[in-house]
């Protein structure tokens, strides 16, 4: 065992400080809305965690050993679990979610940007708690530790190791030489989008509170809403349109925005992943719109399009908002949405699931294998954006997708122990692992995850975090090889 435990401890210290700091925001919200109870609950978490964090930072010994991949996996996994555990505490103290496992589920769902909830009546929650729920999406969207690296200049850790373990999608390109700069520029773009969306939503008649919480939820591709009927609450095509656009923006590669901002817009437009992403959205929306219209699910073509495009964007970006109960849609539309469950957004976005870049590589693998069948002796390389992909990257993509399939199947079996239908179990699992939120049948968009037993909720919570950290990071901890390097 040669894990770098000193650095791990120091990072946990920093993390506790960060957790305390970000909770100051909902604390202020509680003060503004005069929710003294909730304010006390937040303080009860802020004070001890900041104090402990500060103590650890002061007392813990320094280590000058660079971090290895192994350390990166451990640090990232533990950090996410700690954040989710701490984040759950205010709900329990407050009593709005009495059971800790429920609260933990809710927070895993928050930080992993899933948006699955166990709450029957969301509107009963205090404003500050609603804010905290949405805010976890926003933090989780870009990554807690990327956040830490961006905020704390002298963390003294090898950023790249951690970012690699936390960022969604295979990293194909380096944008800036320094991780810190990259993290900062990404957060700047992220914040920018959030602010713009807030303003636009306010222009649509939303209160500042509703606008900012829904912006957090949209940009983090989370899916928590302040209302039981979700985004449909506003009954406004304009609001839905804005949310749709920003969901799609949040599901695209943020590195590309960074490049596009440096006046290289053509890179964005010609990016193969981005093109495929837009293409998939376009085709599936068209299919659903036509099907909804011709099956008379909605009266007009316009309203068919309105609901189809919103739902399409919501699922492919793994946000999970719903403007209508898509459980009642024709099976064909449900099947289209189910397909989208396994696609997800682009790499380096806030979206979850398998990601478009991997789908792109798989499509190229299909094509290559056809060519190989016809020309058994020829060699073919796989190129993305005219760059040949190294075989290591391809191998990583293949093993990821396999692990994804196997995990979906395994976790589905566990959920079936509760006796739910196969559709419910499968869609709940795919939804949690893909960080989407709603599923089909008994976990449909107007229903919730409260029907599962506590052990299953715990498994699904882990599935959400595992899905957010791209499986290997968290699941590594359960492998023998991780703890025994000689293996």
């Amino acid at each position: 065992m040669d894990l770098n435990l000193k650095t791990l401890l120091r990072i946990i210290g920093k993390l506790l400080i960060i957790t305390g700091t970000v909770m100051v925001l909902p604390f202020f919200v509680a003060l503004i809305y005069g929710e003294t109870e909730a304010a006390k609950d937040f303080i009860a978490v802020i004070a001890p965690s900041v104090f402990t964090g500060a103590m650890i930072s002061l007392l813990a010994p320094h280590s000058h050993r660079p971090l290895k991949m192994r350390d990166g996996f451990l640090i990232v996994s533990i950090s996410w679990l700690i954040m989710s555990l701490l984040g759950a505490v205010p709900f329990v103290i407050n009593g709005c979610i009495p059971n800790f496992i429920d609260a933990f589920f809710e927070m895993c769902s928050g930080f992993s940007t899933t948006g699955a909830t166990i709450l029957k009546n969301i509107e009963a929650l205090p404003m500050s708690m609603l804010f905290w729920r949405a805010f976890t999406h926003w933090i989780g969207g870009m990554g807690i530790l990327v956040f830490a690296i961006a905020l704390l200049p002298n963390l003294g850790i090898g950023g790249q190791t951690i970012v690699r373990a936390e960022t969604p999608g295979p990293t194909l390109s380096k944008v800036t030489p320094k991780m810190k700069d990259m993290a900062r520029s990404l957060y700047l773009i992220y914040t920018g989008f959030t602010l713009i969306e807030t303003l636009l939503l306010m222009a649509g008649g939303l209160s500042f509170f509703d606008a900012i919480t829904h912006s957090f939820s949209t940009m983090g591709t989370g899916g928590f809403s302040n209302y039981n009927d979700g985004a449909a609450h506003f009954h406004s095509a304009y609001v839905e349109g804005i949310i749709t656009v920003f969901m799609i923006l949040a599901g695209a590669n943020f590195n590309l925005y960074y490049i596009a901002l440096k006046k290289q817009v053509h890179v964005l437009v010609h990016d193969q992943e981005f093109r495929l992403y837009i293409f998939i959205i376009g085709v599936t929306t068209l299919m659903m719109t036509l099907h909804l219209y011709f099956t008379h699910t909605f009266d007009t073509l316009a309203s068919s399009f309105r609901y189809a495009v919103f739902q399409d964007a919501s699922i492919i970006t793994t946000t999970g908002f719903a403007t209508t109960d898509f459980n009642l849609w024709p099976t064909f539309c449900i099947m289209v949405l189910f397909l989208l469950f396994f696609i997800g957004g682009c790499s380096s976005s806030t979206a979850g699931s398998i990601k478009v870049i991997r789908i792109l590589v798989l499509l190229k693998l299909f094509k290559r294998s056809v060519s190989m069948k016809l020309h058994p002796k020829a060699l073919f390389s796989i190129k993305v954006n005219d760059q040949p992909l190294p075989s290591d990257t391809i191998q990583n993509i293949i093993s990821f997708v396999f692990l994804y399939i196997v995990t979906v199947i395994g976790v589905t079996l566990i959920t079936l122990l509760d006796g739910v239908s196969i559709t419910t179990g499968l869609s709940a699992t795919a939804s949690c692992l893909g960080n989407i939120g709603p599923g089909f049948d008994a976990v449909g968009p107007v229903l919730n995850y409260d029907l599962f037993s506590y052990p299953v909720k715990l498994v699904l919570s882990f599935a959400m975090i595992a899905g957010r950290l791209e499986l290997f990071t968290l699941m590594m901890l359960f492998s023998r090889r991780f703890w025994n390097p000689a293996h």
């Binding site: 991949m69 192994r70 996996f73 024709p330 099976t331 064909f332 449900i334 099947m335 289209v336 189910f338 397909l339 396994f342 798989l362 190229k364 693998l365 299909f366 094509k367 290559r368 294998s369 056809v370 060519s371 190989m372 069948k373 016809l374 020309h375 058994p376 020829a378 390389s381 796989i382 190129k383 075989s391 290591d392 191998q395 990583n396 293949i398 093993s399 997708v401 396999f402 692990l403 196997v406 199947i409 589905t412 079996l413 079936l416 122990l417 006796g419 739910v420 196969i422 559709t423 179990g425 869609s427 089909f440 049948d441 290997f472 699941m475 590594m476 492998s479 090889r481 991780f482 390097p485």
Partner: protein, 491 residues
């Protein structure tokens, strides 16, 4: 375009002729049971197929140049289309199958060893059941290998044909040439058939015809239903065990039996695929049995174990028999059975689906994924039975698995147009692709696909063919580069 069309048509003619000859037994059966209309149907179809087939075979001159890979793929498709078409005629003429689409469905379901039907149970007469069982049996080992084993006179690149036809990854080659290999395979296949037939005939109350139909459907891992309520009809534990054991035997790698005949027991003992297959069947049986017993679905553990074993072997071997109505079992048990849709039997067997060997490679790749993430710069080969697999084979296998899942989702999308619930739609696709035949939801234990509209029934025939011919054989046709060799480039 340089396809050896003459040779292709010649082979397809032979297949048609054989289809005709295979109709002799059901024809006599029809006469014996006095099924006039069906007898006439066979009397019309049989000579036509034989005459047309053998005329083409004997008078068509083969193309001069040797067969290439792409000819190999095309010939497989030609043959399957030819035999499915001629095989459908008796159903159609007999008047027992309402439409031509249903007749094609029955025929394709027969040759692909799926055993699915669009008709209610026990609707076909004895002779047609025998015909369906015969097509199962013929389709079981792939009619093409059949040809290679009995007609080496063609003198064409038989290795290549076998590569396109034989199910599975085909990493091992036990016999020196494809001809000898398929001869040994058929010897084993026929022996199994005879042994099971005798067991079923003598060991139970079944008549000879019923025992024969059951045997043909079992050895080919098709799972032909004779009675609604499945195998429970016989009220005989002996029948249940014989059928499940033989269907499992038929879904083991047939090369194993060759090794056994050669007394090469080391190869048998060290064969990873067989061991994993055994573990999967045993594990699934045990888990389902415990679950059935614990939830009180059956009163005794023995009964739970028996039912579980039968149903697991039916799914794992992709035969698709049913024992009672498993849709009332706990969803956990159904979930496990559903997973078996995607595993299937071993390579070089009559079963369908992804196959155990590929699943093993898939898990090895996941394991390597963990390793590669801890040691990003290390190189590590995937090993199978102690030997490193070539990267090309690994790539081919992983692409196949992805393709399987992608095809599954896309086909489900098409079937969802029917508007049935998700469970029915997904299980119908999984069942047809893996050539199992039974499903969940509206399809249920009876494996009756009449809930789908005629257009989709035709599409389902395609699904079965795609699944049976391991995806690529059919998919290749849709690539322009298949027809125009000079365009095979990746962008």
């Amino acid at each position: 375009m340089s396809f050896a069309f003459r040779t292709l048509i010649k082979i397809a003619g032979l297949i048609t002729g054989i289809t005709g000859i295979a109709m002799l037994a059901p024809m006599m059966c029809a006469f014996y049971y006095g099924e006039t209309k069906t007898a006439i149907a066979f009397v019309i179809t049989c000579p036509i197929s034989v005459v047309v087939g053998f005329l083409i075979f004997f008078f068509m001159k083969p193309s001069k140049h040797a067969l290439k890979t792409r000819d190999g793929y095309l010939v497989v498709i030609f043959c399957w289309i030819a035999c499915s078409f001629f095989g459908a005629i008796p159903y159609m003429l007999s008047g027992q199958v309402p439409s031509i689409i249903d007749a094609i469905f029955e025929s394709v379901s027969g040759y692909t060893t799926t055993g699915a039907s669009t008709l209610p149970d026990s609707c076909l007469s004895n002779s047609l059941l025998l015909w369906k069982a015969t097509t199962h049996w013929l389709g079981g080992m792939g009619i093409l290998i059949f040809i290679i084993s009995i007609l080496p006179s063609l003198g064409i690149g038989s290795q290549r044909l076998a590569a396109a036809e034989a199910p599975g990854a085909g990493l091992l080659s036990a016999a020196p040439s494809a001809r000898d290999l398929s001869r040994s395979l058929y010897f084993i296949y026929i022996s199994f058939t005879i042994v099971e037939f005798v067991l079923l005939w003598q060991g139970s109350s079944m008549g000879a015809l019923e025992a024969l139909i059951n045997t043909l459907g079992c050895i080919s891992t098709s799972g032909l239903f004779l009675h609604s309520g499945g195998v429970l009809f016989y009220h005989s534990v002996f029948v249940e065990i014989v059928i499940s054991v033989f269907t499992l035997l038929a879904s083991c790698n047939f090369l194993i039996y060759i090794y056994i005949i050669q007394r090469n027991f080391n190869m048998v003992k060290n064969n990873l695929e067989i061991r994993v297959f055994g573990m999967i069947v045993a594990g699934a049986t045990l888990i389902i049995a415990v679950s059935l017993y614990a939830t009180g679905t059956f009163k005794t553990f023995g009964e739970s174990l028996l039912r579980s074993f039968f149903q697991v072997s039916a799914f794992a071997s992709s035969s698709g028999y049913s024992i009672g109505d498993y849709s009332v079992w706990p969803t956990f048990c159904q979930g496990i059975l559903f997973i078996l849709f995607f595993v299937g039997g071993c390579t070089a067997s009559t079963s369908g689906s992804i196959k155990v060997l590929r699943v093993i490679v898939m898990f090895k790749l996941i394991n390597r994924g963990f390793y590669k993430r801890l040691h990003p710069r290390a190189a590590r080969a995937v090993k199978l039975n102690g030997k490193a697999m070539p990267a090309r084979a690994v790539a081919a296998i992983s692409t196949f698995i992805f393709m399987y899942f992608a095809t599954f989702l896309i086909f489900s999308l098409v079937l969802s147009l029917q508007g049935l619930d998700l469970e029915t739609t997904l299980s119908a696709t999984a069942s047809l692709m893996s050539t199992t035949g039974i499903g969940f939801g509206d399809i249920g234990a009876a494996g009756n696909y009449s809930v789908f509209c005629p257009a989709l029934r035709l599409f389902m025939s395609l699904i079965m063919l795609v699944g049976r011919l391991e995806l690529f054989t059919i998919f290749l046709l849709f690539f322009p580069s298949f027809w125009n060799p000079n365009r095979a480039k990746i962008k």
